[in-house]
Symmetry: C2
Subunit: 255 residues, 2 copies
């Protein structure tokens, strides 16, 4: 009999986030599930790792085919600690999320959810991250269920190409309005920050970072277009950041 | 008369790091220089941004063509705050470093130095990050000077293609041993973590993350090969993480 796949789950909204609880329920039937997730929200931590503070791991559940741990580190820390300390054998799959809020376009660069996915892929584990286009704690994940299930079952059945992981973004609309799954590229976009200046009771200035996301390109082949048009957007992503087209022109500067 | 270029400098080792002081001296002759750097070391913060805490900015120097500020945030915070709050006009160039320790291969993903560079490029500013292959605070940057100068002068003269920035890594060897500049791709590599387990005085376990970097591919066209063979490695990098080659195979899963 084939061994059940070993599946690691994590997120960046913390072990208590409804999006992770929803993902746990979806993934459990697929194999032995181990959750290692941050003990507090870690949104915007990107790929930060903790080397100058000790990491703590707290076991919450230990059943035959289901274990749950919280960790005081970042999502990348959680994955590294899971691989080396928690799991008894190599994970077969890693799924991260479901994030409260999209990680489409350039938001991937700031995303703890996707940093965990990159960590999985770097370790040679087929990995995917899921995000719902609703930032609120009370976001309704129910309509995403059939799509998350479909994508997870395909990842498990087909495996991902080496060095490739998936960034999945799901529109926050009723299930019957979702038009399907679209595999696409990362849209161009950037954040237009605004800093709100305040003065503290001691007379010193400080700043709160706020901002709006600006789409600078959202052609039909992009994740932003897919979300705007009620599709689940799946972007295959890689961690080779080389701009190959720029190698020759930049080389010519130094020849 | 042409206006002097406005150049933003930052790093992730903090405003006091010798590598940044060295870069400041190199860059000053090229234009009006503004430094906005973290007030404490931020290595390994990657692209983290601070939205749930207020940011503070502290002016250290204000001269006609040179200003210096420290900030309590991450390198990405420093750049965002510089662009929106500190600079009176759009920066022409951003340079980050010189980092104490390499950011070659996959280390770019954990790098605050390179997160700052990505922030510059995202804002349409020609940006490059510099790292020396010596982690020690007392690292000797002197042999890097002619190469850093050459690369900066070419970036200023030629400008970078849109959406592309540079990741420059410099071997820590005497100047006469450096064989030149090599434009290359990001080598394959990964960290093999090890967690040292300890018990605190209250009987609870904790873990220190350590690890070694494993090169899994370092062909002649990679930054790791260049460094091993005494070249300054220049990798043009981009922030479109789409794995284009995987779009068709993954699409076939859902058709």
């Amino acid at each position: 009999m084939k061994r059940k796949p070993l599946i690691l789950l994590t997120n960046d909204d913390s072990i208590k986030a409804p999006g992770l609880r929803f993902l746990i329920d979806i993934v459990k039937p697929f194999g032995k599930v181990v959750v290692v997730a941050p003990d507090r929200p870690q949104s915007g931590t990107a790929h930060a790792v903790t080397v100058n503070h000790p990491l703590r791991l707290h076991q919450i559940v230990k059943e035959k085919d289901y274990e749950e741990y919280s960790c005081n580190g970042t999502p990348a820390d959680c994955v590294k600690l899971a691989f080396k300390v928690v799991l008894k054998r190599r994970a077969d799959f890693l799924f991260s999320g479901i994030n409260h809020g999209t990680n489409s376009s350039i938001n991937i660069i700031y995303s703890g959810t996707m940093a965990a996915v990159f960590e999985g892929a770097l370790a040679g584990v087929s990995s995917a991250g899921f995000s719902l286009a609703d930032y609120r704690p009370e976001a309704d994940f129910s309509s995403s269920a059939p799509y998350v299930k479909k994508i997870i079952s395909e990842v498990i059945r087909q495996k991902l190409p080496v060095g490739v992981c998936l960034n999945v973004n799901i529109p926050a609309i009723p299930e019957k309005k979702i038009r399907g799954i679209k595999v696409c590229r990362q849209a161009e976009g950037t954040w237009q920050e605004d800093f709100v200046e305040r003065t503290d009771p001691h007379g010193k200035q400080y700043y709160w970072m706020t901002g709006v996301f600006i789409k600078t390109g959202h052609g039909k082949d992009t994740d932003e277009w897919a979300l705007e048009h009620d599709f689940v957007a799946v972007v295959p992503v890689q961690f080779d950041f080389t701009a190959y087209d720029a190698i020759d022109p930049v080389s010519s500067w130094f020849s």
